[in-house]
Each structure stands twice: as structure tokens, then as C-alpha cells.
Amino acid sequence: MDFEAKILIIDDEEIVLDSCEMILAGRNYEIFTAPNGTVGLETLKNVHPDLIFVDLKMPGISGFDVLESIQSIDPNIVCIVITGFATVSSAIEAMKKGAYDFLPKPFTPDELRLITRRGVDRRKLVLETIALRREKEMLRENFAAIISHELKSPLSAVQQNLYTLIAEISPVLNEDQNRRLERMKTRISDLIAMIRTWHRVFTADLDSIQEQFKPTSIGSVINNVVESIEPHATRKDIKIVTSIHEPMNHVEGDEVTLSEAIINIGNNAVKFSHIGEEVFIDAKQDEKNIIIAIRDNGVGISEDTLPYIFDDFYSGQKGSQGERGSGVGLAICRRIIEIHGGKISVESKIGQGSTFKIMLPAITGNESQETNSKAQTKVIP
């Protein structure tokens, strides 16, 4: 027979155990009982209960200690403490130690049934949350792997043929036709680049990314960014205004990956700006950190979506010309920045534009020597 839940009751009073068993009988629960903490913990390991009632005042191991042990064995088991001396303070202390609820003695059968129901429901929610979290993690990893193969392969085949076609027929096409073909090529390239970045950042293990780190100039990162977003900006008649406040220390990181993150934000700034506006990129050193700010005066982000924009798969509003994102761009940016030991934040007002701030730890003089010597020791076997 399939039980809805396994319940373990730990109490030194036999009458409590018996009455609990009787009250909960016939409710599709499998009930286990233990007369003290030691037996209780042993039973726990054998039967893996969903819900445990623990009497706080027992000879031998105290209810609090049992509670602590349960937490260390499996913090996802729902615990409800039974308090004989119905003092609020001991119940609160128990809840601080991880108990879900408390049941003061004496209790009526209905009170027990109700609190059991709530405990079992709680356990279901806990398990569901764990399953969802795991699923999300698997989805993130597998999805990226699937994307890379299933999406990138056909795109590569299309692009390969486009390359070949352009080489073969471009002499007989007119300027406008050639321009359109080149435009297609660029769009597909952008897509492939996005898939590549996404795959890399979401499936790669962080240590191996960090192994490739070396002192990187933020100045050249920003140059990469401007170079990459300028074509898009020019088409919308948007001016990119940079101010790089040298001297700045290098940061420990990877130039390509860092550039990708900031290109993403820069592209967003352009996307959400109105025609003819400006996008500002500032970089300066603030004691131990390099601060990069990307500011636009565009459509802005509404207050209620602001907290979610760095989440996986969150896709916000459309661009000023109806452009829509994939919902992964900013999540990737966040991951890239975090891999670099940095932080990303945003301030925004609807109708006034957004400012993205990236903070990256700067290499101080000593540290950079340290990393050099580390790199050297790696080479010597």
C-alpha cells in the first residue's frame, strides 16, 4: 500500500504515542514511534520520514538536540515540536532551530490532525521545490547543450552555404542584392555568436574559465565593445560617448568574455535608446574596483520588472523599435561578471533610461606579481 506520508513521533510518554497513532490511524499515513531521542534518530535513518513530531522535554537526549540532529541529517524533513510546558519561548527557540511549527500539550485530536495535515503539505512543497530547483539546473545545463548542437548545427549549415553562395554569385548580383546577402550573413553570425556565448557560459565549469584568466585591460575591453556595437548604433543614429579615466589597473579576467558581457549591455543600451540619442560608457577606478557604467536615455525599465532582469530566461519589454531579446543576455552578463568576482547592478526609470554599473576588482601591484609567479609555477612540472 502506498502511504501519503511517513510520520515519526518521538515522545517519552507512551500515552501520547498511542493516542497520536490512534488519532492519525486510517488517514493513509505510515506511523512510526520512538520512546526517546536515541531510538528516534535510529528510526529516522531507517525509515526516512516526511514529518517528525518531537517532544521537547524527554529524558536522555533533549528534544532540542534531536531537532539539531535531524537538521544535520536531512534539513528537508519537516519537524513539529510538542511542548509539554507550553511556553512560547521554548517553542520559538525550537522554531529557530528549524522546527516548522509547535504543538502545545494537551492537544485535541482535531488540533493534531490539522497540524499533521499542514506538516505533510509543507513536506510536499519542500520536495517539490527541491525537484523544481534540480530540474531548473538540469534544464539550464542540458538545454544549453541541446541548443548548441540542435540549433547551431543547422545555423552553421545555412551560414556555410551562404558563404559559398556569396562567393559564387556575388559578381552577378547588384549592389543592393549583395548588401542584403551580407546583412543576412551578419545576422546569422550574431545568432551563432550568441549561441556560442550562451553555451560556453552556461555549461562550462567556472574553474576552467578562471584558469584562463590573465591581467586584462579594461580600456581594450571597452574598445572591443565600442567596435562591436557601433554599427548597430550608427543605423539608429545613436552616438556612443566613451570616457575612460586612465590610469586604471588591470583586472584578472578574460578579455573576450568580459567584452561579450559588456557588448551585450551596450547593445541593450542601443536597442532601448530612441533614434538620435546618445549612449555613454564610462570607466574609472574607485580605490580597489574598476567601475564601468553604461548609460542610456532610452525607454527605461519598469519598477516591477527591475528585480528580475538578471534572472535566467527573463525577457523584458521590447526595444524602442520593437526589438525583443532572448531573455538570456543579462543572465549571461551576470554570470560572466560574477565569474570575474564582480557585481552588476542597474538603476532605471521608465522614460528616462537605464544605467548599468559593473564593478570588477582591480589588480593591485602585489597581486599581479603573485598571479605571474602562480602562472610560472604551473609551467614548471
Binding site: 547551431k152 548545427s153 543547422p154 545555412v158 559559398t164 565549469d205
Partner: protein, 140 residues
């Protein structure tokens, strides 16, 4: 430009193959294509080409890698230069774009990522064939 060198492509994506085949044939190479590692290996043994263009992700995973290993163990086939054309560099080992392939992972002469620009492909193909001929000339 080439005195009709013979190339073998082993790749399970016919559309992609058409794309590079056309480029290579346009440069006067004689191109043979096999769409799975088994047929590919057979073709290699029967009539070793001047260069092998090999895909990695075929069949149930990285069967291209297994084929590359097999080729490296064969005293005759190991002389053939191999150009790996892969969908995703990261499946080889973790790499940033533009960086050389991990040297210890599998012995191949060169790795390029799909899609590959026609000029770049032709340049790599001819460079690899040249290098292999120089090697042969030195040994012989």
C-alpha cells in the same frame, strides 16, 4: 592552384557538406564525401586522401574523435593530415574562440569551427597539404 589533390570529408550533415564541398571543388580539389564514421574509415583505408576533413559530433556523440584516434594509431593513415571541422569548440575542451585547441586532447593538425569562411578554409587546406608533403619529402 592545386594539382588536383584528393580530399575526403567525413561529416553527417549533408547541407553543411554541400557548402564546403562547393568551395573546395571550386578550387579544383577532388572531393569525396562519407556521411558516417564507418563508411569514412572504409574510404580512408581503400584510398587514402591527401587530406581528411573530419566532423566531431557524429552518430551517438563524439564519434569523430574516436575516428581521429583510430587514424593516429594506424601506421599508414597517420600520415594523412586531418582538419577537424567542429560545430562547437567547447566539445573538444574548454576554449575561448581564437585560441588553439587543447594540445593533449587529440592529435589533429588543425581545428576550425563551423561555419568556416571560404578563404580561410582554402588557406588551411592548402597549408596542411603543403606541410604534409614537405614532411614526406624530408622523410623520403
Amino acid at each position: 592552384m592545386s594539382e588536383n589533390k584528393r580530399l575526403l570529408i567525413i561529416d553527417d550533415d549533408p547541407d553543411f557538406v554541400e557548402g564546403i564541398q562547393s568551395i573546395l571543388e571550386g578550387a579544383d580539389y577532388i572531393v569525396d564525401v562519407k556521411y558516417n564514421p564507418r563508411d569514412g574509415y572504409e574510404a580512408l583505408e581503400k584510398n587514402p586522401p591527401d587530406l581528411l576533413l573530419l566532423d566531431i559530433m557524429m552518430g551517438r556523440g563524439a564519434e569523430g574523435i574516436m575516428l581521429a584516434r583510430k587514424i593516429r594509431k594506424d601506421p599508414v593513415l597517420r600520415e594523412i593530415p586531418v582538419l577537424i571541422i567542429t560545430g562547437i569548440r567547447e566539445q573538444m575542451a574548454f576554449l575561448f574562440p581564437g585560441e588553439p585547441v587543447h594540445p593533449g586532447f587529440v592529435a589533429v593538425d588543425e581545428l576550425v569551427e563551423k561555419p568556416v569562411e571560404p578563404d580561410f578554409l582554402l588557406e588551411r587546406v592548402s597549408a596542411l597539404i603543403e606541410a604534409s608533403e614537405e614532411r614526406k619529402a624530408q622523410e623520403g
